[in-house]
Amino acid sequence: MPRSEFAKKTLLGVVPADSPFYAFHPVTRLTLLLVLSVAPMFIDRPEINLAIIATTFGLFWWGGVRMSDLKKYRLLLVTVALFMFIVAYLAPGEKAQLTPVSLAGLTLYWEPMRWAFVSYVRLMAMLFGAILYFSTNRERDVLVGLRTLHLPFPVSYVAGLSLRSAGMFMEDFATIREAEQARALDLDALSLREKVKLYTMYTVPLFAVALRRADEISAALYARGYTLSGQPGTGGKRTDYLRDKFVVRARDWAVSLGLLGTLVVIAIVSRTTSVFSVQSSPLIAFVEQLLGIG
């Protein structure tokens, strides 16, 4: 699949102009998100979650997503890793029951470190599933997917408004920061303490803007005849124009059922066997052997 030369901007990033994912109904793509996000919860074995991550990257490639766009998530990956491993190091739990390991002059405890590693890989599998979804679905696809599941209109509508609010929040934040930089604020010259203080101060205008926007949106909803129930003024059923433009085809049923079936199998196997447990992990066993544990 050739990489897309053109990408379309969305609230949460960019999506390829063309992608084989677009041949599927939004609800099928939502099912993929569901499976990629939920399946890792049943799996402790890191190599299986790593395999899910590898599959997800295969889907990124197949879906025409520009791999360079994923670079922006590096900081997130590092931050989450640092946070999890620091917590495991600083708050390991009841030390008497843990296995101490000496590494580069530090005394670590194996069980919390193993937990941090297993959880981190699981979290990454879930996170890349979500990134794949938002890298191959526009806002409209998200809403159509939710509405096809027959969620009440106000629920899907509030979900859309929330997505839009996230975008507006980022825009407002950028505007406030640019306004400060235009008045000679040099962020690089500030100490960490000063930066924290500055970011705290941002909450005041951001909160004020958010309140104003809430007021404006409320007036706009009233002006366009929206009622809390989401039902039309005529009393009949609400037409869902956008949802009706998409058709669920046989291949959508096949893929969705296949994905959901896989999820069910994973859940059953996880509950009835130890195949997905840490104890069954050759990778963990190998690391334990390296460290001389067990």
Partner: protein, 285 residues
């Protein structure tokens, strides 16, 4: 029957000491194009918010008097019914966007009032064509230019084909080219679709030629209601309130004050050219 009627309307915003509207009486007939003018903070937006029913239904305060839309009190009309009767384009187009794509933005109101799928499709196509936003339908409304945003805002309102269209400063936040497009859209709606149109605008020059009636608002009161040529006669009164009639009207107004011109005040460049021709022909004779 009047399309809009305000009888003794006084409105004070919650926590405000002074009323924003004071004893306003106004009648607008069906099919009229009304231009609302006045200085900043005069009460223009408050006036049209009262007509739309945002006051008192969505904004809190104390209302006295009656606002009637086709004979019914505006606060008694349900929002979906009122949305069919009156479309409202806000001054900041972005503030009215509630959807994630332009198409969904246009569709939203149509779904609220309960149109069937086929009608919605036709209306979307029609509104997108008139406003020239056909190529933007799958784009997010927050990721387009200011002029495009204003046209999307107008498209999303006119798609409902309301009997009354209110535009609150529709050219305030856009470039000259975008302004021309908005004026062209208003002209088309007035001439071809017979809508009752109320425009609040500082850019009087652009809308004066379209207006049947001008409403001058100052300090919460309706000071004058008259056809544009009549209201622009008293130049000093308007300029003292920082209201600027079209330049061509001002020039001919001054000539008229000096007894050099006796014809109708021109409202557009074309009428101005005709006026100059009359003057030059007179001088040549």
């Amino acid at each position: 029957m009047n399309a809009i009627e305000l009888n003794g309307v006084t409105w004070r915003y919650e926590h405000a000491e002074e009323p924003a509207l004071v004893d306003v009486n106004l009648a607008i007939s069906e099919g009229e194009f009304v231009l609302v003018i006045g200085p900043n903070e005069a009460g223009k937006t408050t006036l049209v918010s009262a007509i739309k029913g945002l006051i008192p239904n969505a904004i809190t305060g104390v209302l006295k008097g009656d606002v009637l839309v086709f004979g019914d009190r505006v606060e008694s009309i349900k929002p979906p019914v009122l949305a069919k009767q009156i479309g409202f384009v806000f001054a900041d187009p972005e503030s009215q966007f509630t959807a994630l794509t332009v198409e969904e933005e246009i569709v939203f109101g149509l779904e609220n009032v309960g149109w069937p799928r086929e009608t919605i499709g036709e209306r979307v196509e029609w509104a997108a064509r008139i406003t020239g936003v056909e190529d933007l339908l799958d784009k997010p409304p927050y990721d387009i230019s200011g002029g495009q945003k204003q046209r999307v805002a107008i498209a999303s309102v006119i798609a409902m084909q309301p009997r009354i269209l209110i535009l609150d400063e529709p050219t305030a936040m856009i470039d000259p080219l975008g302004k021309d497009l908005v004026v062209r859209i208003c002209a088309e709606l007035k001439n071809d679709h017979d809508m009752t149109i109320v425009v609040v605008e500082h850019n009087i020059e652009a809308f004066a030629p379209l207006a049947d009636k001008v409403v001058m608002v100052n300090e919460g009161r309706v000071e004058r209601i008259a056809p544009p040529r009549e209201i622009f006669r008293d130049l000093d009164h308007l300029l003292a309130r920082d209201v600027h009639p079209p330049q061509v009207t001002q020039v001919f107004g001054r000539l008229r004050e000096r007894g050099l011109y006796h014809g109708e005040l021109p409202l557009s460049d074309e009428e101005g050219f005709a006026g100059w021709r009359t003057l030059l022909d007179g001088a040549a004779r």
